[in-house]
Every structure is written in structure tokens, then in C-alpha cells.
Symmetry: C2
Subunit: 675 residues, 2 copies
């Protein structure tokens, strides 16, 4: 009986971390330290510390009494003695905070609407840094002798800068499986030998990165962008903070982003952001914003504009040189966006482009904001093949009811961004992130044609970028990475005789149209014909998108939907719909694939789309430091590799920041309305 008790007790904490719901991600017991156990830091990287002590009022962890207001917190450099954190970092002891929150222990509790209530005491140490490489032990002591220990590692990286520029391409949601499928659609092969190569296939170094997050093994794009840009994994929906249990989405403990470090260390360097998503979306937002809620779009645009966070004393950089994307709704004054941001940007010296022509004509010696439509950028397939889908959208970025039809693609935006960055920052170099966002967005809606079109556009962009950098004499000085932030469980399993499928009337008969193994045959997307699409030399997209023998593709988890395996020439797919518009009970959308057959879902019925998956994603590297990116590693290693290559590791406290034991409050910058 006693043994059983012990095993049940020992399970509590560990099991809580594995559950569908968690009290607080990253918190191992009733004491919480953020940054949590096992995190790594770049030497000199700014970060905040958040401590919490929990007192659950009810539920399986219930205890009697208030949360401890007298907890203590020490830092121990390996081989040294524990030092109170305020002394260690030479900062004032922060004031005690109190709040409470509720959570559900499992789905049964949720069904019964029986939340667990937790009372909290907390403190936050703001903007500190560890400079001396090595191991540190951060110990929270509470309720007398209970301890939560976080082991921290400051990585010992070379400090010599090796790359002038870093260009990080992110194919959002892109997996190896999708690259394989895109190659099949766009590159002709004869008897198993491809006649042309993808740009990605020519990279000298290949790696895999693990995308799992701190407290869930499936990540979202905010969480994973954070890992790539900062070296810290966090929680779904969080951007460059650990998520504490308070309600405020802006008080969570921050850590410094590569853009912030780069500009702080090299004030004359440049930063560019290019995306096919709406600009407030997670992957672009991750380069400037700090919040536990990625949906705080006004904050994100603020962060572009003000160059960082305004709510706390932080690094004070003045924002990126180039911001190109869409999502005009977040720049126009609305209930979600308190400002009309366009004039604010132009006042600050940005030239403004609302269409491709204006962007192409924009001066390269000025900062540049390009916002080309509302919502996400129309995808390559609609911009280039099914152009009628651009009409009647009322999506011109000035908020008028016009259609945005003069649109740049990822390639045009990326090449323009390079022109600006190179013109303005040839001395100290630049960092550019370019995101093919709708690989992910179209995978979500099971629109594989559109998703793979976006992937091919990314590949074409990489190809054109390499040519451009070569012509600028920058190729040898530029580390180029192409990777993803997470996957979708997509793969191709055969071909479908769409003529046969469309001619059958029974769902089971329709499935006979699928040919697998030998009967998959060869790709017909590359077969020319009278109406086949033509491209310039070296540019590879399908010659046709609607061959009779189409790809048989699928993902591993999906909502109810119908499949006919045919390109949706009338616009992006909408596979599931709520009856009478209901938002959490989705059924297959009949109109989405009238000639198809029904596939019932494997996701909760409140999911109208596919979801992200676990798979490691590929990393393609070339340029200085390319050897750091081979083999298999954690997503955070992308950050550390880029930071090492840019010489951002700062292993000694700068003169502006006093400190002991290789740690200190980070150097003061211009004061904002910081805490």
C-alpha cells in the first residue's frame, strides 16, 4: 500500500507534464523557474527571470494554505557557492506579485466544467545576462525546504565573426516529404534520373532539426520561430517569452532575439523581414515581438515600428530596415489596431509600397515597408495560373475596396530586400529572414497543389537569391540556411486516374481510381502539351496542374473532408464546414470536392483543418559555417549556429554593465516605460 502510494505520488508531477492539459508548461512541481531547467544561453544574451510558487486550492494537487510569499532564489556558478539572485545580477530585489489562475486537469474535468484553482506568488528579475560560459544552477526554495532547480548552460562558442550576412529562408511547415513531391511535379525525370535539380538539392550540407517545443511535442509557428531566433523553446502561441501563469500577455519573461543581439552588437548592421503571410503572423513577428499571445497583432506591428518591446526596458533597437508582406488590416486603424501605422512608418523614414511596381521602384537607400494586400498573400498558383482568383477580393492594402492584383511574389520581395540591405549595410552586414508562409497555410486546408506551388516558389527564390548574391559579390560572405519551423504529416502514395474517379458514382468505386506501386506510374505534371505552362531558363514549375493522372496525396490527420485529388482551379480549398456556420462541429464541405469521396476525420470535430506534425524538418546550409548545420540537432541549434557565425557570443561583460561571476544586469539602454 505504501509502495503504491509512492508510485502514485511520484507520478503526479511527471504525469501532469504529459497530459493533454498542464497546470503550467515548463513548471516541474509547485515551484516554477523560468528560464526553466536544461535551457542554453548565448553568452551575453539578455533575459528575464520569472519565479512562481503555486498553491492549488482544489484538484489532485490540492494543498492547504497560501502560496509562499517568502521564497528565495539563488544562482550557483558551477564550482561556486549559491548567491542570492539580486546580488548575483546586481539588481534590486523585485517586488512580490500575486494572482491566481484556473486550469482543467483533463477532458473529464472540462466536460464537468470543474476547473482547478491555483493561487500564485511570483517575482520577476528583468533584463539580466550571463557572460561566462559554463554551467549554472538556479534554485528556487519555497515552503521551507522544497526546491525547484533549473540547470542552465551558457554555451562556450567561438566569438570570432565568420559571416558578413545571414539569410534564413523558412518554408513554414515544409518537410522532406513535400520537397520530394514538389520535385516530382516540377522536374522531369527519364527512367528514374532527374534531368534538372531543385536549388535545395544542390546545397552542400544537409541537417535535420527537431521542432518539438518546451512543453508539448507539437509546436506552432510562434513557439518554433522563437526557438530558431533565440535558442529558447517555449510554449505554443508564445513569441520570445516563457509563458507564466499571469493573465497579462506582456509581463512574461523575455529573452533576446538574434535581430536584437545583432543590432545591439553591430549597430550599423541591417535586418530584413520578408513573408508571404500577413506581417503580424508568428514567423515574421518572432523577429521583433515579445508576448505570450501571438494574436496580439497590434503589439506585433508596434514592435516592427518601435523596434522591440515598449512595455519593458529592453534592448532599444529601432527596428528592421525592410518589412515586406501583407496583412494590411493590421496597419489600418481598426478596433484591433489602434493606430494608422502607414504614416507612422513613413514619418520614421520608411518608403511605403502597396504594390509590386511601387516596391520595385522604391529607393534602395531608404528603409522600406511593403504591404501588398489584406490577409495572406495570394498564393503562387493563383497569382500565376488561376489569376481570376485574384479578382473580387476587395483586398487592396489602403483599405479601399479595390483588388490587389499587382502583387510581388516571395522572389521579388526577397531580391528587393537584399538590394536595400546591401545598399544600406555593406559595412557591417545584414540578417534577412524570408518566409514561404503558405506552404503551411495551404497544407492546413489540405490544398496540396497550392502548398507545393509555394514550395516551388521558395526553391525558385533560393535559386534566384544565390544568383543575385553572386552578382553582388556577397555569396561567399553569406550564410544561407533553408529550413522549416515544423511539419505536416504529408506524403504522396500514388496516382489517381481523375477521369475514372469522376466517372464513378459510388465512393468505394471511386477509390479504384487510385494507382499505387507500379500503377503510380510517372508524373504527368511535367508533360508538355499545347496549353502547357512555360517558364524562363532554370525556372521549374509544373507544365500543367490538371493532368488526368494526378497525385494521390494525403496527411496523417485531418478533419472530415472529401477528396477528388484535383487541382482547385477556383481558389484555395475549404475542406470542412460547420453546419449553418457553426464553429466547433465541422463536417465535410460537399462543395469542396463534389466528384470526390468522403473521408471522415481523425481530428476533433472542432478542427476544420489539418494540424502540424512531429517530424524533424530538413536544414539546407551553404556558406560560412555551413559545417555547423550537418547531421541531426535541436531547433535551437540553428540560433546558436547563426549567432556563432555572426560572432554574437559575448563572453565578457561589456564595460557598460557592471557584474560579478560573469553575470550582470544587462547594460542600460535608453529608458522606456520599463518596469
Amino acid at each position: 500500500m505504501r509502495n503504491r502510494l509512492i508510485s502514485v505520488l511520484s507520478c503526479l508531477a511527471a504525469c501532469a507534464a504529459g497530459q493533454t492539459f498542464q497546470r503550467l508548461g515548463g513548471c516541474p512541481d509547485l515551484g516554477c523557474v523560468f528560464p526553466p531547467d536544461q535551457v542554453d544561453f548565448l553568452a551575453g544574451q539578455y533575459f528575464d527571470i520569472r519565479l512562481e510558487v503555486h498553491s492549488p486550492v482544489n484538484g489532485s494537487e490540492a494543498r492547504v494554505g497560501e502560496p509562499d510569499p517568502n521564497f528565495t532564489f539563488t544562482i550557483t556558478k558551477k564550482g561556486g557557492s549559491p548567491i542570492a539572485a539580486a546580488d548575483f545580477f546586481q539588481v534590486d530585489e523585485p517586488k512580490l506579485e500575486r494572482w491566481n489562475f484556473t486550469w482543467y486537469e483533463d477532458l473529464f474535468a472540462k466536460d464537468l466544467e470543474k476547473p482547478s484553482l491555483v493561487n500564485v506568488t511570483a517575482k520577476a528579475y528583468r533584463r539580466v545576462a550571463l557572460y561566462e560560459p559554463g554551467e549554472y544552477e538556479a534554485t528556487l526554495t519555497y515552503y521551507g525546504s522544497q526546491k525547484t532547480v533549473a540547470n542552465w548552460l551558457v554555451r562556450d562558442l567561438p566569438t570570432k565573426r565568420r559571416a558578413k550576412n545571414v539569410l534564413l529562408f523558412i518554408g513554414d511547415g515544409m518537410t522532406t516529404n513535400m520537397i520530394t513531391a514538389a520535385r516530382l511535379m516540377a522536374h522531369r525525370s527519364i527512367n528514374g534520373k532527374y534531368m534538372t535539380k531543385m536549388a535545395l538539392d544542390k546545397f552542400p550540407v544537409l541537417g535535420h532539426q527537431m521542432t518539438h517545443s518546451m512543453d508539448s511535442f507539437i509546436t506552432d509557428s510562434a513557439n518554433s520561430a522563437t526557438a530558431l531566433y533565440t535558442g529558447h523553446k517555449t510554449t505554443v502561441n508564445a513569441l520570445n517569452v516563457y509563458v507564466d501563469s499571469s493573465k497579462d500577455p506582456f509581463d512574461d519573461p523575455k529573452f533576446e532575439i538574434i535581430t536584437e543581439i545583432f543590432r545591439r552588437r553591430f549597430p550599423l548592421s541591417g535586418v530584413g523581414i520578408v513573408t508571404t503571410a500577413f506581417l503580424a503572423d508568428a514567423t515574421p513577428a518572432g523577429l521583433t515581438a515579445h508576448t505570450s499571445k501571438r494574436s496580439k497583432f497590434d503589439h506585433v506591428i508596434d514592435a516592427f515600428y518601435e523596434g522591440g518591446v515598449s512595455t519593458h526596458n529592453w534592448t532599444g533597437w529601432d527596428g528592421p530596415d525592410v518589412v515586406l508582406g501583407t496583412g494590411a488590416e493590421n496597419f489600418l486603424k481598426t478596433k484591433d489596431a489602434p493606430h494608422d501605422y502607414y504614416p507612422l512608418f513613413t514619418e520614421k523614414g520608411y518608403s511605403l509600397a502597396w504594390n509590386n511596381t511601387a516596391m520595385q521602384n522604391a529607393p534602395t537607400d531608404e528603409k522600406l515597408l511593403g504591404v501588398f494586400q489584406t490577409d495572406n498573400l495570394a498564393v503562387w498558383l493563383d497569382r500565376n495560373v488561376y489569376k481570376d482568383n485574384l479578382l473580387n477580393q476587395s483586398n487592396y492594402p489602403d483599405g479601399s475596396a479595390r483588388d490587389a492584383v499587382d502583387l510581388p511574389g516571395l522572389k521579388e520581395m526577397t531580391l528587393k530586400a537584399i538590394d536595400v540591405l546591401q545598399e544600406r549595410h555593406d559595412d557591417e552586414g545584414w540578417f534577412l529572414m524570408s518566409e514561404a508562409a503558405s506552404i503551411d497555410k495551404q497544407m492546413h486546408s489540405l490544398d496540396y497543389d497550392r502548398a507545393l506551388g509555394e514550395l516551388l516558389e521558395l526553391d525558385d527564390t533560393v535559386r534566384a537569391t544565390i544568383e543575385k548574391l553572386e552578382s553582388l559579390g556577397q555569396l561567399e560572405d553569406t550564410l544561407i540556411l533553408v529550413t522549416a519551423d515544423h511539419g505536416h504529416g504529408f506524403d504522396v502514395t500514388g496516382s489517381v486516374d481523375t477521369k475514372y474517379l469522376n466517372a464513378q458514382h459510388d465512393d468505394r468505386e471511386k477509390r479504384r481510381a487510385v494507382g499505387y506501386y507500379r500503377e503510380s506510374g510517372l508524373s504527368q505534371y511535367t508533360v508538355g502539351g499545347p496549353n502547357s505552362l512555360q517558364y524562363s531558363d532554370g525556372v521549374h514549375f509544373p507544365a500543367r496542374w490538371d493532368p488526368r493522372y494526378a497525385l494521390h496525396s494525403g496527411v496523417g490527420a485531418f478533419p472530415d473532408h472529401r477528396e477528388n485529388y484535383q487541382v482547385h482551379s477556383d481558389g484555395p480549398r475549404s475542406p470542412a464546414a460547420g453546419i449553418n456556420g457553426q464553429k466547433n462541429d465541422y463536417y465535410a464541405n460537399y462543395k469542396d470536392a463534389v466528384t470526390g469521396f468522403l473521408v471522415n476525420g481523425t481530428l476533433p470535430v472542432d478542427a476544420s483543418q489539418g494540424v502540424h506534425s512531429l517530424t524533424d524538418v530538413p536544414v539546407f546550409a551553404q556558406g560560412p559555417c555551413q559545417e555547423l548545420f550537418g547531421g541531426v540537432y535541436n531547433s535551437i541549434d540553428i540560433f546558436f549556429g547563426m549567432a556563432e557565425c555572426l560572432g554574437l557570443s559575448e563572453t565578457k561583460a561589456p564595460s557598460g554593465a557592471s557584474g560579478s561571476s560573469g553575470a550582470c544586469a544587462a547594460g542600460q539602454v535608453k529608458d522606456k516605460d520599463g518596469q
Copy 2:
């Protein structure tokens, strides 16, 4: 109108190649040359040539008249003049053959039972070789002036041997996605940092190989084994031959296997074959057999025993030193196996092991045949966790009704094979292939737990093998590759609260149990407890296979089935079943997942299992020549890399074989009953 006609005509050949059905894979028009256009050869690699001229009697390609009996065939070395093939290779002109065959042009024709009939004239040039690197043009001229041209490339590879041994691990069907999932199940992580590493994750070099076949983009394991072992892609179900249109499964044009070349060039070298599949299965069979039908199991066992093909004069090697696996039914005298093979092997000097104890005790200085049960080897999960599933199988390899319970795993077999090879071939080195076959087999039946258990066993085998090679002083001389032959479209998308799922009664309610993104939580497979499984230091498998929060996994294409996401403790899954045992109309097997919910299939209803997928698969490399295996390449490059590393490129004709222009009939070996 004329334009339209041209476009239709130009589509005929090209479209035929993309169809669900093809007249003859690799044949671009009415004249067929094998090896076909765009193939590569290792210098000095033996191969056969097959020529065919087709005269379709009916169907869309119908023509009047017999197939051309007077076709001609020339070889042109680049920069030279065409030379009649018999002169070029200094062989006799082969005799003309004639046959006919039928095929269906599409599913409509099949439904109507309207096959197309094709009359054929053909010739075969046997056992020739090209020694001089460079480009060759092989031209078939028929029907007067029609030409089919095959461009051949003999690769110009260094001839210096760099590795003493090559160890090729094949995770059959293994993808990056599966490795990610296996890692999550067996390795503990804290706040996103794994505390231990998989052996695969430690490899210094990572590559991706494309697995598509010559005439279909989805391969089977025969076709893909052929590519890996010979550098030639072929057709589904074919082993080390191109598939001609004749009915004879043994007259197809062969090409030489790496084992045959290695033993021909280094007669004192050794070859080992280890698999968890039945030994006549494609991946082991591919190291010795030549046939267009992998199901010719008697031929495969013959090939192990006789060391190659008996039907044609070929290389005459005497077979592998070590053969370890299962599939005893093919060794016992039955209607499919004409011989009792066990005494034939022992007469030839093999010691014979029918269980793990006997294998462990077998002398290392003798050749070794181990056959441990009928069918495929019981999987790791059943051998180590759910051991009751080994009982009542009547599968002892001697054909008695006993149960095989004293079974080795992949690790035990591989380490024993190394002992034998090292003892017998320390001078000239060895080639060992070790296959984790049931990753694929269990993926087919959607039994992800069992598949990932096999993957973890492979990883543990790799780890133990590296230790073993180090202790033998062989590690630095051994090129180790771990790769796959194709994928399955598997991925993990979240977690499932199995307690909640089991408690619901409606299919849509059950789906609420799925937690995705943040609610995926963390792996509970690694959480210890009173009944958790314990392993030796450095060995990593799940601590439990039945956590309440299980993985939410799936594949992209599937038969009708039910899902409850719970380990099948009573034995491998059987997701679909025919009503009354019917074989081509499968429905979900209710008994397979009683508490689960129904998922209707996306594959033809004659499929009872999942199918292979398109995705590029990973290659992990370490040892001499490891740098040849980074980046993205074709599956055939694995062969060329291994061959280069073993110094197998033979750029000058040996004295035994006369020849001109760097080509000749391959040197005579002991005559068998060759053509």
C-alpha cells in the same frame, strides 16, 4: 485542327508513361532498349542488353503488320562512330526471339476486359561490360528509320579502395518522421532538450536519397533494393534485372550486384546477409537474385545457395558467408521449394542454427545459415514485452509444430554476422547488409507501436555494432551506412487521452480525446513507474507502451480501419478484413480496435494495408568515404558511393576479357547452363 492532332500524337508516348498502366516500363515508344536511356554504370559492371520491337495489334497504338525482325543495334562511344553491338562487345549476334503480351490501357479498358495485344521481336546480348568511363549512345533502329536511343554513362570514379568493410543497415520503409517518433517514445526530454541521443542522431553525415523507380514514382522493396545494390533502378517486383515483356521471369536483362562485383574483384572478401524478414523477401534476396518476379522464392534460396543465377552464364560467385533470418517455409521441401535446403547448405560447409542459442554457439570460422522461424521474425515488442504472443505459433524452423521462442533479434544476428565475417575475412574485408524489415511490415498494417519498436531495435543495433567494431579495431576501416529503401507516409500529430476515448460511445465524441499543438503535451512513454520496463545502460526503448496519453499517429493513405491509438498487446494489428474472407473488398476489422472509431479508406478497396510513399529517405554515414553521402541524391548513388569506397570501379578491361573501345564481353567464368 492540325495543331490539335499534333498535340494528341505527341502526348501518346509521354502520356503512356504517366498512366496507371503502361505497355512496358522504360520503353519510350515501339522500340525498347534495356538498359534504357539515362542509366549509369559502374566501370566494368557486367550487364545484359535486351532489345524489343513492338507491334500493337489493337488499342490506341495499333499498327498494321508484324514487329520488325530486322532491327539493328549500335553502340557509339562519345566522339566515335556507331559500331554494331556484336562487334562492339565482341560477342556473337544473338538469335531473334518472338512473343506477344497483353496489357490494359486504363481502368476503363480493364473494366470492359478489353486488353491491348502486342506482338514482339526481341534479342538479348548477355554479360557484357563497359570499362572506359564516359558517355555512350545505344541506338535501336527499326521499321526502317525509327530509332530508340539510350544514352548511357559510365561514371568516372576513383579506383583506389578506401574502406576495408562496408556495413549497410536498411530500415525497410523507415523515414525521418518515424525516427522522430521513435525518439519521442524512447528518449526522455526535459523542457525540450533530450537527455540522451539516438545512435542515428550521432552520425556525422546526413543525406537524403530519392527512392522513385524507373517507371513508377512509388517503389517496392525489390525495385529499391536493386537501386541500392546495383546502381540501376528498375520496375516494381524486379530484382537486379530490367523487366522485359516476355513471360519468363528469368530471361530479363541482368546487371551485376555489389556483392557479385566485390567477390569477383576481391575473391577473399566476405558477404553477410542479416534480416528480420523471411529470407526470400526482397531486401535480402536483392543481394544475390536476378528475376523480374520477387515472388520466385525458390529461385531466391537457390541464389543464396548457389551464389547467383543458375540460368545464365554469370559471375559464378559461391554465395554469402552468413545468412541470418527467418522464413523457414522456403527452406523446407514444399510445392514452392523443390529442395530441402538445410542439408544442401550444410553439405556446402554452412553451420546451421535454428535458434538464438545455436547461433551464439556457432563457430565463427565456418559459414553460417540461421533460420529461426517460419514467416517474418516476431517483432521486438512481442519478443521483449508481450511475450505471450510468441506462443501457439507452430513456427519452429524445422517444420515441426513447436513454437520458436529462443529467437535472436536484429542486434544479436548482426553482431554474430560481424564475428563470422571478421574471423573469415580480416584480409580482404567484408560487406554486410543488415535489415530491420518489420518497420515496413508493421507500418503496412498501421501497427505504429510495433513499427517504431523495430526502428528502436535498429538504432540499438547500430549503437552496439559501433561499439563492437571499435572493440575489434575495425571501426575506422568500416563505412557504416544506415538508410531505407522507401517510406510510408507516417507522422505523429498529437496525443490521445485513451481513457477518455474509451469512455465515449459516439465516433465523433471519441475524436475529442485527441490533443494537438499545446494539448499534445509531452511523451508519457518515457515516464517510469512501478511496472516500467528497464534496460541496460545506453539502451533506450519506452518505459511503457500503454500510457494513458498515447501518440496520435497516422499515415496519409489507408484502407478502411478503426483507430483507438492503443498498443495492441495481443499481437500485431490486422486493420482491414474481407467479409467472409473475401480478398479484394476490404472493410474495417471491428475486432482490431473495438473501442476505436471508424476511418474509411482512401486506397482502393482491394488494399487491406497501407502502402509505400514517395518521400526521400534519410542516409546516415560514418567512416571512410562518409563525405560522399551528404546532401540530396538519387538512391543509385548509394551503390556508386559504396562501390567507389571499395575500389570496385574497373576502368580497364582485365586481361581475361578481350575488347575494344573500352567495352567487351565480360571475362569468362566457370560455365553453368548458360544461354
